[in-house]
Subunit: 223 residues, 2 copies
């Protein structure tokens, strides 16, 4: 079940949406007011937020803004009755990921929600990562290149996943270590370098993939 936060003041509409989504794979928390909704966000950490623009108390834009101050990942989908494009523009500027004009079909809403959740990192337990010409099956810890399949160890797999999910960004050593060796609090050794070396050789067949070092900072996977 995927936790979903719905903030919508029209009681009936809210109920219908909530009901409909519950019957698929979502666990819906429904709030009628901006303040309550915002509080619930930080409490429940939903995978996605469905947010009405016009709300009593705190309007949808303000709620989105508050959310984005502390969370840049969770997708937000706006529901809007207004038709002005400026609204849409400001919604996107506030970090909205999509919007839907009322009236909308429930089918359409579901499609959008699925799309957003699927590509959001809430699903970072995504099983298959398509890394250049490689396919990483993070569940089975397999790395496939064309017909060849390599068995990865747990940490090898975690490291590749971590770098790929942050591709084209510099990841500093500490953050990588935190992510891949979460329990070793006094990790001082050079295992990371050894693992980097190893996964470089795994990934060497696709020339468009490279892991570069930023001296005294960390690593960056480029693809």
């Amino acid at each position: 079940m995927i936790p979903l936060l719905l903030i919508e003041d029209e009681k009936d509409l809210g109920l219908i949406i909530a009901d409909n989504l519950r019957s698929s794979e979502y666990e819906v928390s429904h709030y009628l007011d901006g303040h309550d909704g915002l509080k619930a966000f930080f409490l429940k950490k939903p995978a996605i937020v469905i947010l009405d623009v016009m709300l009593p108390g705190l309007d949808g834009f303000k709620v989105a803004q508050k959310i984005r101050e502390r969370d840049r990942e969770t997708p937000i989908l706006f529901l809007t009755a207004r038709t002005h494009t400026e609204d849409v523009v400001s919604a996107f500027e506030l970090g909205a990921n999509d919007y839907l004009r009322k009236p909308f079909s429930l089918e359409e809403l579901k499609v959008r929600i699925n799309a957003l959740v699927q590509r959001s990192q809430w699903q970072s337990n995504k099983r298959f990562l398509y890394i250049g010409e490689y396919v990483l099956d993070s569940m089975r810890q397999h790395l496939k290149y064309k017909e060849d399949e390599i068995n990865l160890s747990f940490r090898e797999c975690e490291l590749i996943k971590m770098l790929y999910e942050n591709k084209n960004k510099v990841m500093n050593r500490q953050d990588i270590i935190q992510a891949v060796w979460p329990h070793d609090r006094f990790f001082t050794g050079r295992s990371l370098d050894v693992f980097i070396s190893r996964i470089r050789t795994y990934l060497q067949h696709d020339k468009s993939i490279s892991i570069i070092n930023i001296r005294a900072v960390g690593y960056k996977m480029i693809i």
Copy 2:
């Protein structure tokens, strides 16, 4: 300029869209037919694809499918005249990232495109700098001259980038140091001069590039 591929068979609509987008920051390639558009995709590697559903030759769904067989990253936005939600469902299943119903406002289209491009990995429109006869891949930290490719270190790359982005302007020492050595707060040494010396030798093949010193002030890249 961000490369954008538009595949739309209605000539006039296509022209209007292309025109409008060109005036912002997009470099639009417009194709009227699925087959041509698909070919163009692999040739031009656009940052985003705008794809009409109904097309002569290969329809939009098939084009998307073919694209997704080899590329899972580039965002695809569908334009559809049909209203059936099933269409939308199948579009998303094929890997579409968004869709827009005709008729739509150009403003809205732009908003959507911006949102998609921004969160896609193609933010690297600054990736390649064309410095005289050299090409700097600032992501991979490579400097290419004709067939030769040099691996740059992180700071070498930053320095070249910094000077090139401010070409023909005098940059004073402190500003350069701030940009390239952001953490070293008590950097007093002469590394900058040494690095300048080094990148001068890297860039020596193209006589039209020079880095001159402005005594007691800083450096200026002339090109």
